[in-house]
């Protein structure tokens, strides 16, 4: 399984030689920047939030620090499973048969992490852009629904192509199309062999260009043709990349570079054309917008998103301190509820409501199953009309922009503030990867200011500021079937249980969770509560292990479980760091109980923790009892 040491050393030496000679690009370049140092530090400590932030900033995830450590090695060495997962999902490489890959596997703290690393071997983690490239390539052969808007006629074959791809990828076509946007066919020189055209077109559509071009004179002719084309179309990289041979790794690097370039071109084009041409109009007038079929950005459909007045109002209220929880009034996190009706129920619409129209290309929208079904059906949207069809999408303009950016460029970097909305939109439009991405963002950034490792914070201290409404998150997780969010929610609540345990909303959430399971008829436990109990034990576990108090934990529960025993509350009172918790307790219980005793105050923090743990467990049980009775 594991490569021998001397083999590794030999391979490493050979690799170094190659890199020094410039034959190979270093997979793990040295990075001494401050950002990277912070990133590595976060990986060492297991700080998910910082990791996510740095990744979003665009730090090179596969770089190495001056001790030759990559972030992935650090995270796996220090045993932070979630961080390792995040890094891998974000494209960190852990490839067998490379020095750094083997090192990473070798260093993994435990088997769980090691198996995770193995499951992300090259074949899987490879290129996060592959789906995008594959989709664009598939446009060449996809016949239904028809998306091509220009025909490239050669001597014996006609290629059905897309103006926006040509324009984005080839400066030559960009100029030609800018001068003459409504041309429907191009004719290129007949002297160039058709194979050359084929190679060029495949290159433009991000397909891997094969080096095998026949043999002898034929190859010569084809190569000449390619050379000519690549100069004419101003895609000089094409000819170079065909001439460059090389081994597997080199080819892969080149391919990755090539796709990256392609993506960047698309991205630039997308920003300069699609985003720049979005129109903001009053919602009432949105339907009367007329776009001609022949337009400068070659759009063949308009997507409409309505701005939501409520949304803005809600966001204005957001900074309010969490202690004053908004239990009434619409919740921003459930986007559909408040947003779904404005367009249909004018009473709630404000006069100033705006709509944003994005010109878009069906070819790219097809990446969403929602759109691909829509355009393949025989409904109105699939028909060709004189003016571009306007398709309303049930989300805010900002979210729609995120969705479009993802579809065009595979980029999905957005703030926590719209993450839940994006999650819902992605779920509605069937864009699984975007959904997963939103879930990652929520679960890594959602911990708010409490960015430090949670295991170090057993007493549930949290910052005053709450960045996310955890109830919304859990519900969104259920609605969109993202298990990761349920887990995140349970963990989040467990670490702050003192604060939530007595809220009526929490009880409601537990009830919902119970109902969900009833409907599924899978088990008779309440999933949410089980998860919370699990994370609760995790929260306190390290403390007990350190103090060797496991035994005490085993023996002591019985007396502590007396639900109405108020004595333990007092212990909290004593705790120097338990003020917030104590305050909650005070609010919740009748004031008199607190004052009754203080005699058996625990001597140290550990005892305090143990008692707190029992109190919380007891409260959960009582809550369940009550809910059962109610139900």
């Amino acid at each position: 399984m594991v490569v021998k040491k001397h083999d590794l050393e030999a391979a490493l030496y050979a690799e170094k030689q190659d890199i020094n000679a410039g034959r190979l690009k270093d997979d793990n370049p040295l990075d001494l920047s401050e950002t990277f140092r912070v990133f590595c530090e976060a990986c060492r400590r297991g700080d998910l939030k910082v990791c996510q932030e740095k990744i979003t900033e665009g730090v090179n995830i596969n770089a190495r620090d001056r001790f030759d450590y990559t972030p992935l090695i650090l995270a796996s060495l220090c045993g932070h499973f979630e961080v390792v997962q995040l890094l891998l999902e974000s494209g960190a490489l852990c490839e067998r048969d490379t020095f750094q890959g083997e090192r990473c596997l070798y260093n993994a703290l435990n088997d769980r992490i090691r198996n995770l690393l193995l499951s992300y071997d090259y074949s899987k983690s490879t290129d996060p852009l592959q789906p995008l490239a594959a989709h664009i390539t598939s446009l060449l052969t996809r016949e239904h629904p028809k998306t091509s808007d220009v025909a490239l006629v050669t001597a014996d074959k006609t290629f059905h192509l897309h103006k926006f791809v040509l324009s984005a990828r080839s400066p030559y076509f960009a100029k030609k199309l800018a001068a003459n946007p409504d041309s429907t066919s191009f004719k290129l020189a007949n002297t160039v062999p058709p194979q050359s055209f084929e190679v060029a077109v495949r290159y433009l559509y991000l397909q891997e260009v094969a080096a095998d071009l026949g043999d002898g004179e034929e190859e010569q002719a084809v190569l000449t043709g390619i050379d000519k084309l690549s100069r004419q179309l101003e895609i000089d990289r094409l000819f170079e990349s065909i001439l460059e041979g090389g081994d597997r790794r080199l080819a892969r690097q080149r391919r990755t570079e090539e796709v990256n370039r392609g993506r960047d071109q698309l991205h630039t084009w997308f920003q300069q054309n699609v985003l720049r041409h979005k129109i903001t109009v009053a919602t009432s007038k949105a339907d009367s917008v007329r776009w001609d079929r022949n337009n400068g950005v070659f759009a063949d459909v308009l997507l409409r998103a309505d701005e939501d007045a409520d949304e803005e109002e809600d966001e204005a209220e957001r900074p309010a301190p969490p202690t004053v929880r908004q239990t009434s009034g619409p919740l921003n996190g459930i986007p559909i509820g408040p947003m779904s009706y404005p367009s249909r129920s004018p009473s709630r619409t404000r006069s100033s409501r705006k709509s944003v129209l994005f010109p878009a290309h069906r070819a790219m929208l097809l990446r969403s199953e929602f759109f691909s079904t829509m355009f393949s059906s025989s409904f109105r949207e699939a028909q060709s009309t004189l003016y571009l069809q306007i398709i309303p999408i049930d989300c805010s303009p900002a979210v729609l922009e995120v969705v479009l950016t993802y579809l065009y460029t595979e980029k999905a970097d957005f703030g926590l503030s719209i993450a839940i909305d994006v999650l819902h939109a992605a779920d509605m439009l069937f864009i699984e990867k975007l959904k997963a991405r939103a879930a990652v963002i929520i679960s890594t950034l959602g911990n708010g200011g409490a960015s430090v490792v949670e295991a170090e914070n057993p007493r549930g201290e949290t910052d005053i500021e709450e960045v996310v409404d955890i109830y919304d998150v859990v519900r969104a997780g259920w609605d969109t079937r993202v298990h990761r969010l349920e887990e995140f929610g349970a963990r989040y609540i467990a670490y702050r249980l003192e604060r939530f345990i007595d809220e009526e909303d929490f009880a409601e959430l537990v009830r919902e969770s119970a109902n969900r399971i009833q409907a599924r008829q899978e088990t008779d436990t309440v999933e949410l509560v089980d998860d919370i109990r699990y994370y609760l034990s995790e929260r306190f576990r390290l403390r007990f292990e350190d103090a060797g108090l496991d035994e005490m934990m085993d023996e002591s529960p019985e007396p502590h479980l007396q639900p109405s025993d108020p004595g333990y509350i007092d212990t909290c009172d004593e705790g120097s760091e338990g003020e917030l918790y104590a305050a909650d307790m005070e609010q919740m219980l009748a004031g008199g109980a607190v004052r009754t005793l203080d005699g058996e105050v625990a001597g140290d923090e550990f005892t305090q923790d143990a008692i707190n743990y029992q109190i919380l467990l007891g409260k959960i049980d009582r809550l369940l009892d009550r809910l059962r009775l109610d139900a």
Partner: protein, 821 residues
């Protein structure tokens, strides 16, 4: 208690209803093909919201109810409208009520209507499923419901296919009518009408796409459970009747062709009209009804297998073979029919041979070839002709079946075995015992005459034929005996045309029968070669002696190993042992050479005894006859006479006496000591045969009597310089009955030794054995040589017990023997 959160998600009942109303009216539009005005996004959004609000269940139910209502009210009515009276009766099977044309038209309309309804339904439902995609993905997956599309397909089955065709309570379901119509149409096609295959195929696709229950189990497709069974039953009935009709009305060849066509038709039908999965089943039905159940009758028909064989209908036979192999990989019926026919034909050939050999010689037989010179030979040559005829017939028969086997029976292994065993059976049949002899004779004939002027390949063919026949012979030892006898004659009398061919034959037999079989035959050839060497050696020896005597006779000698050569068969018939041993007295000149050779030989090989067989030799004489007036003038006539050794001895007697003198038969016998019968025959050829009358007999008569006197015929004249004086021989043709008897006796004797040897070999190895086992083993050991008679084995065992090789085990329950060392 109820927070705003729950309100947003759950509370909105009114909204659900209005949303559903919107959806329902849009669905109606879709069903009435007005979908192009609808917005996919809007419908999807409605459905999406309902599901998100946990109303998926209600939505699912509503859609199902909507479809149910639509199908059972709108669609069902239009389908029922297509069901006319003629269809109902057609489905009942009383076809006579309406004309075929009407039925076809009505059926066509019904199928078309149903097909269109089904396609519309599929199209609309796929649009609905598109709209309800979120429900399918979220609600149906979570709650393990079949997708709405599948549910709707099942609704089509329940509301349309399984609904009654009219309001009457006992009316048929649409499905039953559909089945009836398709069956009716197929029947029309079988009767030669043209039908719309495409349309039926679409309906079949529909049935294949639907299942009996809501679970999609492959075997539960409506096509299988409903239509296919009906189809197979109807077809079975149809083919049973057709088969009976054909057996009555047509001949076997036509029957086979028809069946073949029907099978192809059904295969085509499955491909073009029904489902490929039915192909094996319907083939089975056709084979059952037209082949398996009718095969025996078919074979035994007047125009059946026998007729086909007799008239060389190999194409028909081939069909018969194909049909039979479809239902029975062993092809028992056909095989046994063939076998029986071979045996019949073989028996006919045997009977013809026996009849020919016993009948008076027909003039035709003379014309055919070897003209018998003496009347006594006639019966013999009659046999030869019969033998050749028999071999030829058998070979023809073999050729015939071989060509059937190749062309009609696909060179089938089992068939070949069956044919071979039938040939073996009749060739070795108990009523015909001469096959070994006939085959040997056939070879003999060919060696002596047949292969003259033939190319190598032709010769090869002849040899091949002989070998083929030989394979069928069970009593190989009999054949060996005959072959040896015939070979011996050919060799000694130099009658064989080509030594090479002889050797080829031997080597072929060696390949076929093994070394043992040809051992003695090869030894015979070896003797011949050694003799040649001896002759030359002796010549050299004589030359070295130096006394060149011009008058000295030259000697060419064949030294034969007495055990190898069947010398007894060379003797004249009727000779007894005594006369054989009588030594011929040679004239002194000859006697000298004889002595000298004996000396030469015993110098070379000490301890060997030479016995001179004068009755087998021949001699060349240079005879000078006195001058006689002829047409060309007076001249002395010299002839070279080729005569038998005895004749030479006789003629040399006349050297010693004056030409005018004569000697009596008895005097000759006294002087030469030649056995009487040989002397008679030799004198006959010298004095009676008209062309070689070198002696004059007194009185002139055909028979030679002891009192006859002989003198040298000075006036003899021949046309040629060389004259061959044939000896009137006993003939080398077919044996006389007497000879046969002795051959068989000898054969039995040698068989006895073989059995003895085999029994002893077995017992030596096994020590103790029951009687039954011993017999079985003996039989199997001897199978390659001959088929021993059980009684003979018993006798041999008895004699072995007497000779104390074996003893009976007294205490054994079953008779057993023990080997005595």
């Amino acid at each position: 208690m109820v927070s705003s959160t729950t309100q947003g998600l759950h509370g909105d009942d009114v909204d659900f209803e209005s949303t559903w109303t919107t959806l329902a009216s849009s669905f109606k539009e879709i069903h009435t093909k007005n979908a192009s005005k609808l917005s996919y996004e809007e419908l999807y959004r409605h459905a999406y919201r309902i599901v998100l609000k946990k109303k998926g269940e209600v939505l699912y139910g509503r859609v199902r109810d909507f479809e149910k209502e639509w199908l059972s009210q709108t669609v069902a009515a239009s389908i029922q409208g297509l069901v006319t009276g003629s269809l109902r009766s057609g489905a009942h099977g009383s076809a006579a009520v309406t004309t075929a044309n009407e039925r076809r038209e009505a059926g066509w309309r019904f199928l078309k209507g149903l097909k269109e309804a089904w396609q519309d339904h599929q199209l609309c439902m796929s649009m609905l499923a598109d709209v309800l995609m979120y429900m399918d993905r979220v609600y149906c997956t979570d709650h393990r419901r079949p997708s709405i599309f599948i549910t709707a397909m099942n609704l089509f089955r329940d509301c349309i296919l399984l609904s009654k065709s009219s309001s009457e309570a006992d009316s048929l379901t649409i499905l039953a009518i559909l089945n009836g119509i398709i069956l009716d149409q197929i029947q029309m096609e079988r009767d030669g009408d043209i039908i719309d295959k495409h349309l039926i195929k679409s309906c079949v696709y529909m049935l294949e796409g639907l299942y009996e229950a809501d679970q999609e189990v492959e075997e539960q497709r409506l096509y299988v459970t409903s239509f296919e069974t009906d189809f197979l039953n109807a077809s079975r009935e149809f083919y049973r009747k057709e088969g009976e009709f054909l057996l009555r009305e047509s001949d076997a060849g036509a029957y086979c062709r028809h069946t073949q066509r029907r099978i192809t038709e059904e295969q085509d039908r499955c491909r073009s009209t029904l489902s490929e999965t039915t192909t094996p089943k319907i083939e089975q039905v056709v084979e059952d009804e037209l082949v398996r159940n009718k095969l025996r009758e078919l074979i035994e028909m007047e125009s059946g297998v026998r007729h086909m064989i007799d008239n060389d209908r190999s194409a028909d036979l081939r069909l018969m073979y194909i049909l039979n192999s479809k239902v029975d990989p062993l092809k028992k019926e056909l095989t046994s029919a063939i076998q029986q026919r071979i045996k019949e034909m073989g028996a006919e050939i045997n009977a013809a041979a026996i009849a020919a050999s016993q009948a008076q010689p027909a003039p035709a037989a003379d014309a055919e070839g070897d003209k018998p010179k003496a009347p006594g030979d006639r019966a013999l040559s009659q046999q030869t002709v019969a033998a050749l005829k028999w071999v030829e017939d058998v070979l023809n028969l073999k050729d015939k079946y071989d060509s059937f086997w190749k062309f009609s029976f696909d060179s089938d292994q089992g068939m070949q075995k069956a044919i071979s065993s039938s040939f073996t059976d009749f060739i070795n049949s108990a009523t015909f015992t001469r096959s070994s002899e006939y085959i040997s004779l056939f070879i003999d004939e060919n060696m002596k005459k047949g292969i003259k002027g033939k190319t190598e390949t032709e010769v090869d063919q002849v040899l091949e034929k002989a070998i083929i026949l030989l394979q069928y012979v069970q009593d190989k030892d009999m054949f060996e005996r005959y072959y040896k006898k015939h070979l011996c004659r050919r060799l000694l009398m130099n009658k064989s045309l080509s030594n090479d061919v002889e050797k080829q034959m031997i080597s072929r037999m060696k390949v076929e029968q093994g070394n043992n079989f040809t051992l003695k035959l090869e030894a015979m050839f070896k003797d011949m070669t050694i003799s040649e060497e001896l002759t030359t050696g002796f010549k050299g020896h004589v030359a070295k002696l130096g006394d060149a005597d011009a008058a000295r006779a030259e000697l060419a000698i064949n030294v034969l190993t007495s055990m190898t050569w069947p010398l007894e068969t060379m003797g004249s018939s009727g000779d007894n042992e005594e006369s054989r041993k009588m030594r011929c007295i040679f004239p002194p000149a000859i006697e000298r050479i004889k002595k000298s050779f004996e000396k030469y030989y015993s110098d070379k090989h000490s301890g060997r005894q030479l016995t001179w067989l004068a009755n087998m030799g021949s001699a060349d004489l240079r005879a000078t006859f006195p001058k006689v007036q002829t047409k060309e003038g007076i001249k002395e006539r010299k002839h070279e006479l080729n005569v038998s050794t005895y004749a030479m001895v006789i003629l040399l007697l006349f050297n010693d006496i004056p030409a005018s003198q004569s000697i009596t038969f008895e005097e000759i016998q006294a002087k030469t000591n030649i056995p009487t019968s040989d002397l008679v025959r030799n004198l006959q050829s010298l004095a009676v045969a008209p062309k070689t009358r070198i002696l004059i007999k007194e009185p002139m008569s055909k028979d030679v009597k002891p009192t006859d006197r002989f003198s040298f015929n000075e006036g003899f004249s021949g046309k040629f310089h060389k004259i061959k004086v044939g000896v009137v021989t006993a003939g080398n043709k077919v044996e006389t009955d007497k000879e046969r008897q002795s051959t068989e006796e000898k054969n039995n004797e040698s068989r006895g030794f073989c059995i003895d040897a085999a029994v002893v070999r077995i017992m030596k190895q096994r020590k103790e054995l029951t009687h039954q086992q011993l017999v079985t083993e003996t039989l199997s050991q001897l199978a390659t040589q001959f088929k021993p008679d059980i009684n003979m084995i018993k006798k041999k065992i008895e004699s072995l017990i007497e000779r104390e090789y074996l003893e009976r085990i007294d205490e054994a329950k079953v008779p057993s023997y023990r080997y005595l060392a």
